[in-house]
């Protein structure tokens, strides 16, 4: 069976849609509770409306950047998976990282339909583990709440904690970059350089332009990929 038909099958839409449903139900529940509490605290309804409107405006830019990522993910992961993961805590960067990480674990013969299906199964398992990790990590930390903040900052230098956390991400993306380029055809290196140079220019020239900054990753992706496709 064709893998892209499986990726976009009605069953996948339903299986992926449950997450989106949970997100909507959660948002509605919290919105009702917050509205009730805001009324009790005496926050005027106009102020509540203004606050919500500002939240919408602030969210538009980053959401457009997300939809560029969504469209690119749809091409590689299929509609349902891209839709679900862009809505839940799994980020587009991570999903692409996962897709390239699991390929080496698949045992079926490369290039066969079995490989495609097995690869997809490994990818959605890894995504499930990643998203569950975020959720469970957050649940534990929200419960532990203020007590944990206090201990971490007392026992360790908060500056060091921040550096360690950020450092893990930097190491990971360095790995992913070199893994895309090392031993691969030249267009992959051209794409990496194109994306990097585009980000450099956008950051240097338009560092103070917030809207453009929000789009900088999306623009860099297009620049890098187009440069590679032209060169190939």
């Amino acid at each position: 069976m064709d893998i892209s038909a499986i990726k976009n099958s009605p069953g996948m839409w339903i299986a992926s849609g449950v997450m989106v449903l949970v997100i909507v139900v959660q948002a509605v529940l919290f919105m009702r509770a917050a509205k009730k509490e805001a009324d009790q605290l005496g926050i005027p309804p106009e102020k509540q409306k203004e606050a919500k409107r500002s939240a919408v405006v602030a969210a538009i830019g980053p959401t457009i950047a997300l939809s560029i990522m969504l469209i690119t993910l749809m091409a590689s992961l299929g509609g349902p998976t891209a839709w679900m993961r862009m809505n839940d805590v799994g980020s587009g960067r991570t999903e692409l990282a996962i897709a390239s990480m699991v390929g080496d674990m698949v045992s079926a013969e490369a290039g066969t339909p079995e490989w495609d299906l097995q690869n997809m199964s490994y990818a959605v398992w890894a995504q499930g583990i990643d998203v569950a990790g975020w959720l469970i990590g957050a649940m534990v930390m929200i419960v532990a709440g203020s007590a944990v903040t206090k201990t971490l900052n007392e026992k360790f230098d908060p500056k060091w904690i921040k550096l360690l956390m950020g450092g893990c991400l930097v190491s990971l993306f360095s790995y992913l970059l070199i893994n895309q380029v090392y031993g691969k055809a030249p267009p992959f290196a051209i794409a990496a350089v194109g994306g990097g140079v585009s980000m450099l220019i956008l950051n240097k020239l338009f560092g103070s332009n917030k809207r453009l900054q929000e789009l900088s990753l999306g623009i860099s992706i297009i620049v890098g990929a187009v440069a590679a496709a032209v060169a190939a």
């Binding site: 959660q26 959401t63 469209i71 990790g133 709440g145 360095s174």
Partner: protein
């Protein structure tokens, strides 16, 4: 009490999301009989944990004081916390003239986070529906470019990190490249290379931090 109510609702809905996150994987098993072996699921778990476990635990606690309970639950279910939820929350609090950290601030941050969650779901769902059609219409020369998206993204992100904090991040990037090439030539599998790049990176950032601390305190 509002906080207690948020915590209860948050734990229940996030628990639901944990279950939902495995449904596509289970669907592939029940519909097509394909599932990784137990050992491979364990490897996938350690690969994910090696790459992201520090983030899973440290990020929610980092943002907790700014978000409060309600917005934390909402934001960590949908992600994009730093670049989407946080700006929206501060915009909402500013618009209403209410300070963060107060009970009123927490109520508004919950309201703002819930609003952005609905906005992103609605927007992304529309794009998903239109987007599928768009991709079908694209000429082959354009879809060919999609295979170069991954290197372009990683190139852009690595440059972005380097520019954000050159002193801390450049040593990590260089060590990442070196460790990768050395271990690849040694014939190690990528799972172990990922793990070792991250672990060696931790020592590198500790070294950078210590050096920096020494520089900041001259002639002690």
């Amino acid at each position: 009490m509002f906080d207690k109510k948020c915590l209860r609702m948050g734990l229940i809905t996030m628990g639901g999301a944990v279950v939902a996150s495995f449904l596509p994987a289970l669907y592939l098993y029940f519909a097509y009989g394909v599932i990784p072996t137990g050992a491979d699921i364990a490897s996938l778990f350690s690969m994910m944990a090696a790459s992201f476990a520090v983030g899973w635990l440290v990020q929610p606690i980092t943002f907790y004081p700014a978000l409060g309970i309600g917005a934390s639950c909402l934001s960590w279910t949908t992600g994009n916390v730093a670049d989407l939820r946080m700006p929206a929350i501060s915009a909402a609090q500013k618009a209403a003239g209410i300070e963060a950290g107060t009970p009123e601030g927490n109520v508004l941050s919950t309201m703002a986070a819930a609003t952005t969650n609905i906005v992103t779901v609605a927007f992304l769902t529309v794009i998903t529906i239109i987007g599928s059609g768009l991709i079908a219409l694209l000429p082959e020369s354009v879809t060919a470019a999609f295979s170069y998206i991954a290197p372009a993204i990683f190139g852009a992100i690595v440059v972005d990190y380097a520019m954000k904090n050159l002193k801390a991040n450049l040593p990590l990037i260089i060590s990442g490249f070196i460790v990768y090439i050395v271990l690849k030539m040694a014939g190690l599998s990528t799972v172990w290379i990922t793990l070792l790049v991250v672990i060696i990176g931790m020592f590198v950032s500790r070294g950078v931090f210590t050096l920096q601390a020494k520089k900041d305190k001259p002639a002690a």
